[in-house]
Amino acid sequence: MCTPDIPGTTLFDGRQARKGYALNKMCFSFNQAANREAFVRDEDACCAAYGLNAQQREAIRARNVLQLIEAGGNAYYLAKFAGIFGLDMQDIGAQQTGLTKAEFQARLLAAA
């Protein structure tokens, strides 16, 4: 299909779904508290068990959402990864837009 890109947006299509399968599968496992604890206990072992590639491993290490998306991560599964650190969607939004959380919240209010 020949559709123009939407700036700042990666559609989670088949290409991304293939690329990110291992990463998303690990994040999906974080639905269970025991798996979240296992990650906290031994991050390397957890990433190895799911077969993350080097790009995915580095993005997880960096806790960097844009890198995680680039590595095939899907927003819904990444939200479970963020949950391990007690981050909410406004923390995630601030990180991706290079704003402080207060600045990101102000931007949301400005849309009203």
Binding site: F28, Y76, D88, M89, G93, Q96, L108
Partner: protein, 277 residues
């Protein structure tokens, strides 16, 4: 035959669950959102629906990328929530109306919708939170049928297809050999985007135009491709597909009894509509 008594559409973001768990409904931030449900509560108390068909999108609780149905219809005796990664309290489970589930499954396949039927199915915040918004005491007075529409992995079903799915569901409800009062609900939206440099995107003009359209020109949004909907409403704003299916189920004409639009809640523009045939 069953009586389709009305339709409710509402947002469903996880932050609502945190607000409920922490009892923040009357805090200044949350009050304009929660208080808007009072007219819906009055309507539910008067109309007393017995069955609720819920169009929602799973966010990685019941479905993973290993098997991702475009349309899935619950046919379980009971539906439960679970931890979605944030450790929020899990609500009471929901009793299924299996007779209506199979009525929908039979009718949808007859209408050439190649759906997936699920005799076991967990339901996530997109199902449970709107239930708690409708019935804050969380003592569910309705049996339910969940209908899940994929918005995780592209390609998504088109707006036109989701509207048609809703129309088929509406016909099946009206053709159900039962004297039950049945309502439909659609959850999600309105405009928001969680991911990418465009995170925080909200489009108030589009949302208001969309809500208007559901009353008088319900197929208005079906002119847009999925790509266009993402552009106008954000990557998660495409959840308005649930609203279109719900509106399709209601039938050709609708009267709006109540609506609310308030932003932001979390990163989202929240919408609420109560429509009757």
């Amino acid at each position: 035959m069953a009586n389709l008594v009305g339709a409710i559409t509402t947002s469903h973001v996880p932050a609502i669950g945190r607000a409920i768990a922490r009892n923040l409904q009357q805090e200044p931030y949350w009050r304009p959102f929660f208080d808007a449900f009072a007219p819906v509560h009055r309507w539910l108390a008067e109309t007393r629906p017995e069955v609720l068909v819920v169009f929602y999108n799973d966010h990685g609780l019941n479905f993973f990328l290993d098997k991702m149905p475009t349309f899935a219809v619950g046919a379980a005796p009971v539906y439960s929530g679970a931890d979605e990664g944030w450790g929020l309290p899990v609500m009471a489970s929901f009793e299924g109306e299996q007779a209506l589930s199979w009525q929908l499954i039979d009718a949808l396949v007859q209408d050439e919708f190649d759906i997936t039927s699920c005799q076991e199915m967990q339901v996530d915040h997109a199902f449970a939170l709107p239930m708690a918004l409708l019935w804050p005491d969380q003592a569910w007075p309705v049996k339910v049928v969940p209908v899940c529409i994929n918005t995780v992995q592209f390609p998504l079903p088109s707006a036109r297809r989701c509207y048609a799915l809703g129309e088929s569901v509406g016909r099946a409800i009206r053709g159900w050999d039962s004297d039950a009062r049945v309502a439909v609900m659609g959850t999600g939206g309105l405009s928001h985007q969680l991911d990418g440099q465009r995170a925080g995107f909200i489009n108030k003009d589009f949302d208001l135009r969309f809500m208007d359209s559901l009353v008088d020109d319900p197929k208005w949004a079906t002119q847009f491709s999925t790509h266009e909907l993402v552009e106008k409403a954000g990557t998660q704003g495409v959840e308005l597909l649930m609203w279109l299916a719900t509106r399709g189920a209601l039938g050709s004409s609708a009267r709006c009894l109540h609506r609310n639009y308030h932003l932001p809640i979390s990163n989202t523009a929240s919408g609420l509509m109560l429509l009757v045939p």
